[in-house]
């Protein structure tokens, strides 16, 4: 039984080989290639998000060098030097140079934002001097922008404890 099986196997191999040689082509190729993917800190990822440092770094509770960027303008942030718990009602609050967005990938991308929160329309992210919004800004590979935040509660009727923003999704899409 064992011997017969072996002979049949040989025959099949021989005819297969002959057919392949007849066409002059390669009979088969098998190649194993590695794939490795790591999760980087936000500061080192393809879309870099990192606290800008400086005077307003108290609002940045995690600057992206050890995990993900987190910004906290509420009573849960005990790092504020003056102990404030949030923005004023009926006021325009501007926080300059809060964090940096950089394209560390390989091609130009457009940055768009999806904000979520009970009053997320009151918060706007600007590049540099509040003349251009981050939402819709194009970044070539290697380009970065320092982002400032404006929160406008004027005429909104919001009072202490009301939520403005809960999270922001940064989209970077190939242009």
């Amino acid at each position: 039984m064992e011997r017969r099986k072996f002979v049949v196997g040989l025959g099949a191999l021989a005819s297969g080989s002959a057919a392949a040689m007849g066409t002059g082509a390669f009979s088969s190729v098998e190649a194993d290639r590695t794939i490795s993917v790591e999760v980087a800190d936000d500061s080192n990822a393809y879309l870099r998000l990192q606290g800008a440092g400086g005077v307003n770094s108290d609002y940045v509770t995690s600057d992206g060098t050890d995990g993900v960027l987190e910004i906290n303008l509420d009573s849960g942030n005990d790092s504020i030097a003056g102990d404030g718990d949030g923005v004023n009602p009926d006021a325009i609050t501007k926080i300059d140079d809060l964090f940096v967005v950089e394209n560390q990938g390989t091609q130009e991308v457009e940055i768009t934002l999806n904000k979520s929160g009970d009053n997320d329309g009151l918060a706007t992210f600007y590049i540099d001097d509040y003349s251009t919004t981050l939402d819709g800004t194009d970044l070539t590979a290697g380009a970065s922008e320092t982002i400032s935040l404006e929160i406008d509660t004027e005429g909104s009727g919001l009072t202490g404890g009301d939520e403005i923003l809960d999270s922001v999704t940064f989209n970077a899409d190939e242009v």
């Binding site: 098998e30 290639r33 590695t34 999760v39 936000d42 990822a45 394209n103 990938g105 290697g142």
Partner: protein, 199 residues
């Protein structure tokens, strides 16, 4: 018994020899022929495996390795995917039939998943995404309710010169996924002659 067998063997050998010399044929020939085989880089081999975006590919040893890692950082300093994010890369690499005949190409697996066993929370999933949807290919799917995950892919009848492009989608979650999970695996790419086109 042993002796008889030996004699019979000799007789057969002699007969064969007489027949050969009777035809006036050569008794032996030794001819040297050049048979040259060289190893090509993946990009130039018969089964071409070539980067489309070489910053995410490490091809320093001549083979294509997909590497979204600190060791293979982009020119701009990107060392990996963001946590709590979905990263998509199109036109990552391509497989080209650089041989002489029509082949079937198989690539597997296309899905890579890892979870942090200790926490059971942090996880990463990477999907190699075929970019030639109009091509005549077949998915072998792993059924996982309520959706399906492509486990391998077979492209039928890839003519010489034709190429198959792949991208990548990666997903890591939650925020704490940084440094806790990573994919370190391999993909097998096989090309065989199409049985119908090459009987």
């Amino acid at each position: 018994m042993d002796r008889r067998k030996f004699v019979a063997g000799l007789g057969a050998l002699a007969g064969g020899s007489a027949l050969a010399t009777g035809t006036g044929a050569f008794s032996s020939v030794e001819a040297g022929r050049n048979l040259s085989v060289s190893v090509a880089d993946d990009s130039n081999a018969y089964l071409g495996i070539e980067a489309l975006d070489d910053e995410y590919i490490d091809a320093t040893d001549g083979t294509l390795d997909i590497a979204l890692t600190e060791a293979n950082a982009t020119d701009e300093g990107g060392e990996g995917i963001n946590a709590n994010a979905v990263t998509g890369i199109s036109d990552l690499f391509k497989i080209t039939n650089q041989g002489s005949q029509n082949v079937d190409v198989f690539a597997q697996p296309l899905t890579f998943i890892q979870a942090d066993i200790d926490s059971g929370v942090e996880s990463i999933a990477v999907f190699l995404t075929p970019q030639d949807p109009d091509y005549n290919f077949l998915f072998d799917v792993i059924p996982i309710e309520p959706t399906t995950i492509p486990g391998s892919i077979a492209y039928k009848n890839v003519d010489p010169g034709n190429e198959l492009r792949f991208g990548l989608t990666a997903f890591a979650a939650p925020d704490t996924a940084t440094g806790t999970v990573e994919i370190n695996n391999s993909i097998s790419i096989t090309a065989e002659p199409n049985a119908e086109e090459n009987p």
